[in-house]
Symmetry: C2
Subunit: 232 residues, 2 copies
Amino acid sequence: MGAVKTKRMPRAVREQQMLDAAVRIFGRRGYTAASMDEIAELAGVSKPLVYLYLNSKEDLFTACIRREAKALTGAVRSGVRPGLPADRQLWDGLRAFFAHTGEHPDAWSVLHLQARTHGATFAAEVTAMREEIVAFVTQLIVVAAREAHRNPDLPEREVAGLAEALVGAAESLAAWANATPGVTAREAAETLMNFAWAGLANLMADRPWTPPEEPEAPEAPGELGEPVAQPG
Amino acid sequence: MGAVKTKRMPRAVREQQMLDAAVRIFGRRGYTAASMDEIAELAGVSKPLVYLYLNSKEDLFTACIRREAKALTGAVRSGVRPGLPADRQLWDGLRAFFAHTGEHPDAWSVLHLQARTHGATFAAEVTAMREEIVAFVTQLIVVAAREAHRNPDLPEREVAGLAEALVGAAESLAAWANATPGVTAREAAETLMNFAWAGLANLMADRPWTPPEEPEAPEAPGELGEPVAQPG
């Protein structure tokens, strides 16, 4: 990230330096507060050169989202070996995920927070990435159910909900791990496996959690209220 | 939300109407794109009156976050009866949570997405609410571990991670349920209990998920690479 001044540096290399600087500033300051001056300075180039290469703040941000989304899905994908049992794939994928988000906290802030709230165009970029990860997890749950043999036909909507829950838990843990000194990727992944996989394994084996038997609950159970006498 | 024109309406009532309109517009358009004109029009008042009562777009947004955060934590709190077993409290709390986020999707969008990315002041408002919910879940996990007797001393950091995972899963499911026609609050809560509680129950009973035995993994398991001969 140093302010290398070589004039003949190839454009592709300069662009990557600009993106490195932009991810850092967008991730730390937020999209709105980030200034193109600061990004150019951190990249060691002039502001006009940033505009010449990346066109606008919007396009620069889009380029950041695309690069970082690709890097994150690539890291998860290359951490997983398809032939292994589903829980092993999930474990490997989670460790790769937390290792990547832990090593690139600014990129994670761009993807998880900034990209989702500054307009539909940016949000669509990150939604595509999230859907790819949800699809991967969904597939693992389906395979695991098939491997367990006992419950091969989890309803599609339940699988979709479980995958959303798992991905949401991973997102939340990534932010927590990045904000909590000393939490390793392995620790975060183990917490999530403890939390999720044991529950999923029970579900696959047809031992779901059972809602308590209950009479129709009153509307507002926390409220004190006089019973109302029914007429006649 | 109707454009009631009564001149003598009390200020407090008018303010609530302005906040109703603001939550709807902020939730649907996002903070940056939301216009004070549209908010005033939807509230059925003049724009100067909105500024007179709420001062600025920033203050109006802050008032929205505060009101909706209080409403959500209040709904969860009043759904839970403290004397019951921990899993029952969690089940009741989750149903209250999903019922509230399902009935107030714009408020959920304000809290979950908009408030977290438009500056530190807004983020701090919603962080306080999230911390309250995480603390509630943490407490339930601690109580459950005590009730289970077998594992009364889950390490503090593990409990914190589990609570973050559960809250993140709930947040993700709330967004998914709001975007998926026909998913009820009960269904979302049951999916999360299936996903999480069974896993937690195993953990309490000292049956954690066990990481696979493995040799030291190569750095990039997805890459093909020639083994490098060590110099003799």
